[in-house]
Symmetry: C2
Subunit: 456 residues, 2 copies
């Protein structure tokens, strides 16, 4: 008995840190409902990242539009001993009514550059902090790592294989979307395919081979079931023998019109295995059968295989992509920059921020390469640059319908073409390009001087 | 208008790799519905882990009991071009009817030891692979890392602060549960508190301080709103000045009976900051106000702070725990070991498995310390050891109601006390203790000899 469709996004505002709610109790008790501006940014890029790509905005906007507390959640809070009835009443009525400015998905950004700016009554802007960071960090990491893979892979097919090693369900879904944004051709993740319209890929695992009485029997059975999608996994027992069985099957199938698209290799030293398999296939007159490789693939391995000119036409990239294994978190934050018209900033050791509502301008050179970015106060007119933060939500409502993923993918291709060579290098650490405008530096000095936080 | 409660577990079997479904099409076409046994195990522990803890079983059993395809999912599959109607009809009726054996949550395990064993008709046992790995890997990683923190933290309070940097919603929820299993005292994650009955912790962020006109005004406002839960964040502007303001407030509050429980430090070199703050508080006659520290805390930092005997009574552990940053994935797999009564195994380079249904026995020495584990065929009677794989599901139904988290936490304490010293060391790499029984080694030889995969 099939069930109705479901919404898999967790839209519960209860998915938050307790301190957001204890702070809200304080704000309500002091009647602090004035407009607050918070900005989300990455303080410093991981050592092994020269750029990041904006991603995850659509999921954030969905959350802001849909998040409501359920009765059971309110009951839990009321019984927790932390809160009084005025907070429970407030949360029962909660909906986000604020404004959002953001970098469009797929735009390049760097350390200390605001990716999203929220302006809303203080309790609302505060409440969303935890989930906002949670929703943005992962897609940014994955889209950026996917772009690194694409930059070194040339035209090779790249498929996200990461769902099983993703950190939970939502991570698998959002990583598939972000990988596609970053330049992958598709995903093995069926639900992501359905939900986001991403092309899906997949054929067989070792268990299919093992369940049959022989490898050749398994190949034959699969060819019968999937004459149009025939990629055969050949390393279950012995890769070269697997390749010879593929040749045998290809010859058997010759008269039927069924074509073996590719073989997949999922173990061993992929470059050496691919060369041996290529020789066997070519010698038997099957240069048209491609080779697809998986197993611990990441951008570094792809680069080394491409440099060696190995005969691999596509890669399944799983664990290392989906967990962003070499940089599994970002040093990112969502910080109050203005309250009730007054700029604010924190000055904690190593974690100081630039105050006030800001805009980010980008400057290119005459050949279209990135020269520098400049962080400015919102009302500065910075001539010659392009303002990157765009209004995307007002009064809690989206200003545009969601962008298509194809459109975002095109933007990523454009953006990556703006990167100067050192930023494209996987190993070199490129020098950040961010300038701070004079007006913003002045505002920081003023903010510190006026701040009673310092002296009062 | 509050909304009804919701179920946040993603129970969609569509959250899977496409190849599971293309293989199912093949199994159906060949009428391969016999019983299959798959085992889930970690091939080799990460270099910086000497043990792992079983975790995530309850969420897996929930999934196995609840997973059904929705109409929209079936429509998507039918329109995908990969499948024929016999598969769609099968999936519309799909429910898991198999048996599960597993290590109870909280049990120690090591490389190549089965954590979960599934026996079910082949298509069912195959279909669940992706989500099974996805549901088990993260809790195992987090429970194990939490236990490492607990082992070095002594009696210090440990609170999970990781939700914001978790990889999505489900990761945040499941990590909070796993951290609690591993020995944490609670979490900042409100929804995890509600859902799993975990104690929740939290007071204020820097934004609360910044939103007020002065730090002291913020402290006073918070004390008024939260007289029973008063932990003050003191590093927004200047930590030592913050500490002196806490002293001022404590003196103001003395006559009211309101007590400041602790201060929190979230930046700088935590040990030095804590000592300076301790001096200020003590000199002012407030030795009862505790110090809670957060910011890039992990087991290595806790160990070094504890060794220096710094005056910190509790830690908020976020990013490094929730992403298992120093080991963000496990080299884990779910492999077919038997089909239709015949043992199977794969022999891929570096990825060979032991065939057949297996049982894992544990042997302790006279002082209760772990001596070795032995992997046996299921029907071997291995005398003197304890069989670790327990039946937990039959015919798709749980055999017991879920264990309480308190019970699992107790088990973890017992289990950790069985670890020999080298396994408790954060740096040393302990030698694995797994033996393979003679019967199992013999079975592997037989399987390879008989397997038509090799010769047919």
């Amino acid at each position: 008995m099939p069930m109705p469709d479901r919404d898999l996004l967790c839209d519960s505002p209860q998915l938050t840190d307790l301190y957001q709610l204890t702070m809200l109790q304080g704000y309500l008790d002091c009647d602090m409902h004035q407009q607050a501006t918070f900005e989300f940014f990455v303080r410093k890029l991981p050592d092994n990242r020269n750029f990041l790509l904006a991603a995850g905005l659509e999921q954030l906007l969905d959350f802001l539009e849909c998040a409501r507390f359920s009765d059971a959640e309110l009951d839990y809070l009321a019984g927790s001993g932390f809160f009084r009835q005025n907070l429970i009443d407030y949360l029962a009525q909660y909906r986000f009514t604020g404004a959002v400015h953001a970098l469009p998905e797929g735009v390049l950004f760097f350390g200390n550059e605001p990716l999203v700016r929220i302006t809303a009554p203080l309790p609302q802007a505060q409440l969303i902090e935890t989930r906002l960071i949670n929703l943005l960090q992962l897609p940014v990491m994955i889209a950026s790592k996917a772009a690194r893979c694409r930059m070194v892979a040339g035209d090779a097919q790249l498929v996200d294989f990461g769902l099983r090693r993703a950190h939970g369900a939502e991570a698998g879904l959002h990583a598939a979307r972000a990988a596609y944004i970053g330049g992958f051709d598709g995903t093995s993740n069926v639900l992501a395919g359905q939900r986001f319209g991403i092309p899906i890929f997949g054929t067989m695992a070792h268990s299919f081979i093992q369940a049959h009485d022989s490898e050749l029997a398994a190949f034959r059975a699969f060819a019968e079931s999937h004459p149009d999608n025939l990629v055969l996994l050949i390393d279950t027992y012995d890769t070269e023998r697997g390749a010879r069985r593929v040749v045998q099957l290809a010859d058997e199938l010759a008269s039927t019109g069924v074509r073996i698209k590719a073989v997949r290799i999922d173990s061993g030293e992929l470059g050496d295995e691919a060369r041996r398999v290529r020789s066997i296939l070519d010698a038997a007159g099957h240069p048209d059968i491609g080779i697809f490789a998986s197993s611990s693939v990441d951008e570094y391995l792809i680069r080394s295989l491409v440099k060696r000119d190995v005969p691999i036409g596509g890669y399944g990239v799983g664990t290392h992509l989906t967990t962003s294994a070499d940089a599994p978190y970002l040093n990112c934050a969502y910080k109050l920059e203005e309250y009730d018209g007054q700029p604010r900033r924190k000055r904690s050791s190593g974690k100081a921020t630039w105050p006030g509502r800001k805009q980010l301008y980008r400057y290119l050179d005459e050949s279209g390469l990135l020269r520098f970015d400049r962080l400015c106060t919102e009302d500065e007119m910075d001539s010659g640059g392009t303002a990157l933060l765009q209004p995307v939500m007002e009064n809690g409502q989206r200003l545009q319908s969601p962008e298509s993923l194809d459109h975002i993918r095109e933007r990523v291709r454009d953006q990556l073409s703006m990167l100067p060579a050192p930023f494209r290098d996987l190993d070199e650490q490129a020098t950040p390009l961010l300038q701070i405008s004079d007006a913003l530096q002045q505002l920081a000095v003023e903010t510190d001087r006026l701040s009673n936080g310092g002296s009062g």
